[in-house]
């Protein structure tokens, strides 16, 4: 494969970075190199993250927060240091505001579920409204559908413009005195759109609504500063940010987390338990019932160290450059329609598209036979697909290890797909 356009500027030293990711050296069927363009689905993991977890299992494995012995100390320290590192990574004012969950989905459900039982200021009931958008991941739709159905509140949402941006024209009507919660994705995993959170947060806070941000695609790609952002709660997930599976994070302001009732009940989240009733431990333990994903938190800390060593501003710059290059190349392809913004402005590194006359499953199958891994389907965003009148799409998504040559391989593969299915172009 040859590079078709001028190399974009702002790229990271991907040769060095790729050396850290064992899987990127893998050969696929037919001895083809892996061209992994599915990082919005899950990212690959560097040796540093894998090794940190292995070392922990081999040297310090123990349960946390419960044991006096040396291994228990080591494990507890490592787990709590992980929390501090992750707090620093998102500039959280206090590390006890960082709650470990199993993924973003659990973090978002934690909020929706506890709001179901919250009393006072945060209670949600008939007449109240919850606002989401048509571009949400199912994990930021279904929890709010369950909450509103169960409490009698109403679910409302931002529509989308043809370019795949939030339709902000009715924001003042949409977010109003009845609005209790606004929960929005920061960077869409399907359209790639980066949403104008500042404006929305300002409006939501004007009317006293809680703001929840699904930062699942944002924390991996952008420098995040929750103190500056101004949202009340944010959710993200380890496996999309070079971390392990089995771990996610909910960050929330202390006063809000303190006011919410507990989510899961059990070991570690209690202050005291009698058969007659129980009281809850202070944050963060209150929301971490049972044995937490200890080694996964340690792996996530290693992931955060890895990203920080590169610098999230540099990661964002690379993501921008590679996405701009991909958009340039894809726009040239006949019969290809991009769903979402077609210019790399306020745009993350996921590009979903359609090829006239070829179903996404078939596109990704042909690409896979060439070693190019992309995702086909609804990407857990059925309403956003419905908005654009399609059922599914093909998505290529990029990360800090993605190279322009891989984009070229994608474009080449799309042309081959069209030839295979005899689509004229």
């Amino acid at each position: 494969m040859t590079m078709q356009s001028t190399a974009p500027s702002g790229l990271l030293d991907t040769d060095r970075i790729r050396g850290d990711f064992p899987i990127l050296a893998r050969r696929l069927d037919g001895d083809r190199p892996l061209v992994y363009l599915d990082s919005a689905n899950t990212s690959q993991k560097p040796r540093q993250v894998i090794d940190a977890m292995t070392a922990h299992y081999e040297q310090a494995n123990s349960n946390v927060g419960r044991a006096v012995h040396q291994l228990g100390d080591a494990a507890t320290q490592a787990y709590e240091v992980a929390r501090v590192k992750i707090a620093a990574f998102i500039n959280a004012p206090d590390s006890s505001e960082v709650i470990f969950t199993k993924n973003s989905t659990e973090a978002l459900n934690l909020v929706a579920n506890t709001l179901c039982w919250a009393q006072g200021q945060y209670s949600v009931g008939a007449g109240d409204e919850v606002v989401i958008s048509e571009m949400e991941h199912h994990s930021n739709i279904v929890p709010w559908q369950l909450l509103t159905e169960r409490t009698g509140a109403s679910l409302r949402w931002f529509g989308l413009t043809d370019e795949g941006r939030l339709d902000m024209s009715h924001i003042d009507e949409l977010i109003n005195e009845r609005t209790k919660v606004v929960s929005l994705v920061w960077v869409s995993n399907m359209l790639g759109t980066v949403n104008p959170l500042e404006t929305i947060i300002r409006r939501a806070h004007e009317v006293g609504a809680l703001v929840v941000v699904d930062a699942s695609q944002a924390v991996p790609q952008l420098p995040v500063d929750v103190a500056a952002l101004g949202a009340d709660l944010i959710a993200f997930t380890g496996h999309k940010m070079v971390g392990p599976t089995g771990i996610g994070v909910l960050w929330g302001r202390t006063e809000i987390l303190d006011a919410l009732p507990p989510f899961l009940g059990g070991g570690s989240m209690i202050e005291t338990v009698t058969m007659q009733g129980s009281t809850w431990a202070p944050l963060p333990a209150k929301f971490e019932a049972g044995t937490p994903p200890i080694v996964e938190a340690i792996g996530l800390a290693a992931a955060v160290d890895y990203l920080s060593a590169i610098g999230m501003d540099r990661v964002a710059q690379h993501e921008h450059a590679i996405t701009a290059y991909a958009l340039d190349r894809l726009r040239e392809v006949d019969g290809l329609t991009i769903l979402g913004p077609t210019e790399a402005v306020d745009r993350g590194g996921a590009v979903s598209f359609e090829i006239d006359g070829v179903h996404p499953h078939d596109v990704s199958q042909v690409l896979d036979s060439l070693g190019v891994a992309v995702r086909a389907g609804h990407h857990c965003a059925k309403p956003a697909h419905a908005r654009f009148g399609v059922q599914s799409s093909t998505r290529a998504s990029f990360y800090l290890y993605t190279t322009p040559l891989e984009i070229d391989a994608l474009v080449e593969g799309i042309e081959q797909t069209k030839r295979f299915f005899k689509v004229r172009s």
Partner: protein
């Protein structure tokens, strides 16, 4: 992966020009099936009379494999006795779950043998089964429907 073994010409032919497509009357049962992982959908109607599959009609959105497989299904079951059609269904299921280790019987499966290659692509098996599962479901409904009618 050998693309040709997945996308046999027969499959591509059915995909480009699916047989018995469209929704028709009469029918005793209509079902709507979705493949939750990819979103592919089929609405399928079955018309059964005197124990015979008189018609299968459908509207489907999906990939080449799911479209072609539904098309082949209609060729195979329309005009057959329900029991015989169920046996064909079972053979097709068996083929798909065989990981490519069962030699398909062309006398039974006709164009369906082209799907032998699909069995080697785990992610695509669900595509090939979408129409078949919908048909089985609809036929079961149509039959119990007609039994109820006979009983009363």
């Amino acid at each position: 992966m050998d693309l040709q073994s997945l996308y046999q010409e027969i499959i591509l032919d059915h995909y480009r020009a699916p047989h018995h497509a469209g929704l028709r009357e009469p029918y005793e049962a209509e079902v709507h099936h979705v493949n939750p992982t990819c979103g592919d959908e089929v609405t399928l109607r079955v018309h059964v009379a005197d124990g015979v599959v008189e018609d299968v009609s459908y509207a489907a959105e999906g990939c080449s494999i799911s479209q072609a497989s539904t098309s082949v299904l209609t060729d195979l079951v329309i005009g057959k006795k329900v029991d015989d059609a169920m046996e064909i269904h079972d053979s097709f299921m068996e083929l798909m779950q065989s990981r490519g280790k069962v030699e398909p019987d062309e006398d039974v499966l006709e164009d369906g043998i082209a799907f032998a290659g699909v069995a080697k692509f785990p992610a695509r098996i669900k595509c090939a089964l979408l129409g078949w599962m919908a048909w089985k479901d609809a036929t079961a409904k149509a039959v119990s429907e007609s039994e109820v009618r006979h009983d009363s």
